[in-house]
Amino acid sequence: MEPNKDNAVPDPKTDSAAGTENVTEPKATIKVEWQEFELDATLAQQDKTLKVVLQPHFASIENANITREVKDGKLTVTIVKRAQHKGA
């Protein structure tokens, strides 16, 4: 049975990029809808915070897949819109 993601406690390994490598760069790179922009790393490390901040501008982030990668202390967040049912 698949656990409920909404009520689940955030997993530091998946939800935060600090699990494997520390983020040292103050700005993170956000990749969303084939666009890239810089965002404060403090806002980009947690899914919840990222959704709250970006939801007014990207409505699709609510049900998007968020992946993080830290390379040389720079955090890169990739947001991919999850496939929805027709009409969603």
Binding site: Q35, F37, D40, T42, V53, L54, P56, H57
Partner: protein, 383 residues
């Protein structure tokens, strides 16, 4: 002239019916005046007239009813006043016979009578009297009474004028015309103020005080009515519906220019939960479909509004400076994409050109029922 039957339809434009109505009102008033125990007073007469009008059950058009009722009442009251005056003149010779004309004229100049006539103009009281005319009027009651009564009637209040809400210019003209026709033979210029004054003074000496009170009340009502009319007109003027201003839509261009002042700017201010006495304020600004520029500011509880506005202004200014560069990047990205699209459309247009060459060489491919292999591939490429 015939009495107008009860329940008759009375139209204001029907002259015959109006005449009958007036005649009926006067006849009823005459009969009322003859009844024993009738006390002629203004308020009672008014109530009586209304009762008579209700009892007659005349049918009128809704918008004419008030005017016709006023006409009926005015004629009814007018006739009652005439009856009252006739009574006073009938009783007067017995009272005035032993008194000399000088003694009759004395009350007119005396203080109590002037106090009893506050409405009368002071000009009339100062005009010298002619004893010969007064004697002649007293000697012949018919010649002396008629013009004096008419003048009193003209000075006295009319119910038709009192009822201002139902006042109508057409109705007034009709009443005036009827009055003029009834008194064509009278010489208006023959009325002198002396005779009028003597007549009025006689009436006052013989009439009870209640009549004075009613005449004063009637005059005050008239004054009140004239004061009311302009206010009502003002109210009507005020109540005139003002045309509502048309609310125009805010029209946005389909494609807004890449100019900060000429495009829609979306700014979002988010106050994150307080931590350690301060809040994180996230200010994000964007235009078009560009990515937002996000800034974070620590906001204290004391001057939060000032700090937020400062942060917002700074974010706007920063985005204003960055927008040309962002727009240039977008234009650069769009140009290669447009070139690629034009190339792909050119490639897809080539196979039909080959087919056209085949047609030009004289082959009857279009007419052949079996499709060519190349055209099939080209059509398949369309799908």
């Amino acid at each position: 002239m015939e009495i107008l039957n009860s329940g008759s339809f009375v139209a204001i434009d029907n002259r015959e019916k109006i005449d009958q109505l007036i005649y009926t009102a006067r006849e009823i008033a005459s009969e009322v005046g003859r009844t024993e125990g009738f006390q002629n007073s203004g308020q009672t007469n008014h109530q009586l007239g209304l009762e008579m009008w209700k009892g007659a059950e005349y049918v009128c058009r809704a918008h004419e009813e008030a005017n016709i009722r006023n006409l009926f009442l005015s004629k009814f009251l007018e006739r009652l006043r005439e009856i009252e005056k006739e009574r006073t003149f009938q009783t007067r010779p017995a009272l005035t016979a032993p008194v000399s004309p000088e003694s009759v004229r004395q009350p007119a100049s005396s203080v109590p009578d002037t106090a009893a006539q506050p409405i009368e103009s002071p000009v009339r009281s100062t005009v010298p009297e002619e004893p010969s005319r007064i004697v002649a009027e007293e000697e012949d009651e018919y010649l002396g009474v008629v013009p004096a009564d008419d003048d009193i009637e003209n000075d006295g209040p009319s119910y038709a004028d009192e009822c201002v809400p139902a006042y109508d210019a057409d109705m007034e003209a009709l009443v005036d015309r009827l009055d003029n026709e009834g008194h064509d033979t009278e010489d208006i210029t023959s009325h002198e103020p002396i005779g009028n004054e003597s007549q009025e003074s006689d009436v006052i000496t013989s009439a009870p005080d209640s009549d004075d009170a009613t005449t004063q009340m009637a005059k005050t009502v008239e004054l009140g009515a004239t004061n009311v009319v302009p206010s009502e007109e003002n109210e009507l003027e005020i109540k005139e519906p003002v045309e509502p201003k048309s609310i125009g839509p805010i029209v946005l261009a389909e494609k807004e220019p890449y100019n900060f002042d000429g495009c829609t700017v979306t700014a979002v201010v988010q106050l994150l939960p307080e931590a350690e006495g301060t809040r994180k304020c996230v200010v994000s600004v964007r235009t078009h479909d560009f990515t937002p520029r996000v800034a974070i500011v620590d906001v204290s509880a004391v001057e939060s509004l000032l700090q937020i506005s400062t942060a917002l202004g700074r974010a706007f200014e920063q985005y204003r400076n960055e927008l040309p560069a962002i727009a240039a990047d977008k234009m650069k990205k769009e140009k290669p994409a447009a070139k690629k699209q034009s190339k792909t459309t050119a490639k897809s247009a080539k196979p039909p050109a080959d087919g056209a060459k085949a047609v030009a060489s004289g082959e009857t491919t279009a007419a052949s029922p079996v499709p060519n292999a190349e055209t099939v591939q080209g059509q398949g490429g369309l799908f």
